[in-house]
């Protein structure tokens, strides 16, 4: 039964990823990414990591992809040129991807990693407790650095939004600069 669930989740995850790449509509791609991330969360559950599964659903599917959806809606979901217009990029990209798959998959398949080696099989019951203990004992410094990175990300997002607002106001006031800028972009 658990084997069947693994194959079900894996096949749905891979199919959703393929649909996400090939889809022409960006909204569908984001929604298929939600499916993919939810399936990966199910795989986390089967691997005995229920806390990470919950975080995956809340942070990835709940926050990050909603942010993606907001941006897609904001930009009017312009399909635009779906594929490249640089010659040879598509066949070369496909070739390199196939080479990557042909390299990765046999390596992984030949390793034959079989199940938990150590005696302590992880059950999901005390998973958050053990994760917290590991996080706040051996990884205190990375944890603090992460808070700094989040602060920088917040400031960066505000600065980016502010600067474009500043540019628009400048363009309104100075028509000459606006024209030179537009010609520069057109070139």
């Amino acid at each position: 039964m658990s084997d069947f669930l693994f194959y079900l989740f894996s096949v749905v995850a891979v199919a959703a990823a393929i649909g996400m790449i090939l889809g022409r509509n960006a909204t569908y791609s984001v929604l298929l990414a939600v499916v993919n991330f939810a399936m990966v969360a199910m795989l986390y559950l089967m691997l005995g990591a229920p806390f990470l599964a919950a975080v995956q659903v809340i942070v990835y599917a709940g926050a990050i992809l909603v942010l993606f959806l907001f941006v897609v809606m904001l930009m009017g979901n312009d399909p635009g040129p779906t594929w490249e217009h640089i010659p040879l990029q598509r066949p070369l990209g496909l070739l390199f991807t196939i080479a990557l798959i042909a390299g990765l998959v046999p390596i992984v398949a030949l390793q034959n990693v079989t199940g938990p080696r150590s005696g302590q099989m992880m059950t999901g019951d005390d998973n958050p407790t053990r994760l917290g203990e590991a996080l706040f004992s051996g990884y205190v410094l990375p944890f603090e650095v992460t808070s700094l990175i989040l602060l920088v990300a917040i400031i960066g997002a505000i600065v980016l939004a502010k600067r474009s607002a500043y540019r628009e106001s400048r363009v309104e006031h100075l028509d000459v600069e606006d024209e030179t800028f537009e010609t520069a972009v057109a070139d």
């Binding site: 990591a49 990470l52 992880m122 590991a134």
Partner: protein, 105 residues
């Protein structure tokens, strides 16, 4: 490893490798900046799956802690990256990554 043998850690690693390769394929083939960004998230996710599978394999929590950090950084990265994409869209009126070539000499 047989394809339909009882599920082992190898199977999880295999799924992870396939998802990662699909992410690479999306980054190389698609031109819409949003889709490229989504594919980067897909690759991060595939690596996370590897970490969790090997965390169970080794009976250690370290892999899950790393996944925790990767998720946090992914959130920060998405905030900045999407702000950049919106700024580019406001300036150029497009999110085609090939249009962003102003620095070309």
């Amino acid at each position: 490893m047989d394809a339909l043998s009882p599920v082992t850690t190898s199977h999880y690693l295999l799924v992870s490798a396939v998802l990662f390769s699909l992410g690479v394929m999306g980054v190389m083939l698609r031109r819409s900046a949003i889709i490229v960004f989504l594919c980067v998230e897909l690759m991060l996710n595939a690596v996370n799956l590897t970490f969790v599978a090997l965390s169970r394999e080794l009976g250690s929590m370290d892999g899950q802690v790393v996944v925790f950090f990767v998720m946090t950084l992914a959130a920060a990265e998405v905030a900045i990256g999407l702000a950049l994409i919106v700024a580019i869209f406001r300036t150029l009126g497009s999110t085609d990554v090939d249009d962003v070539a102003e620095m070309r000499g």
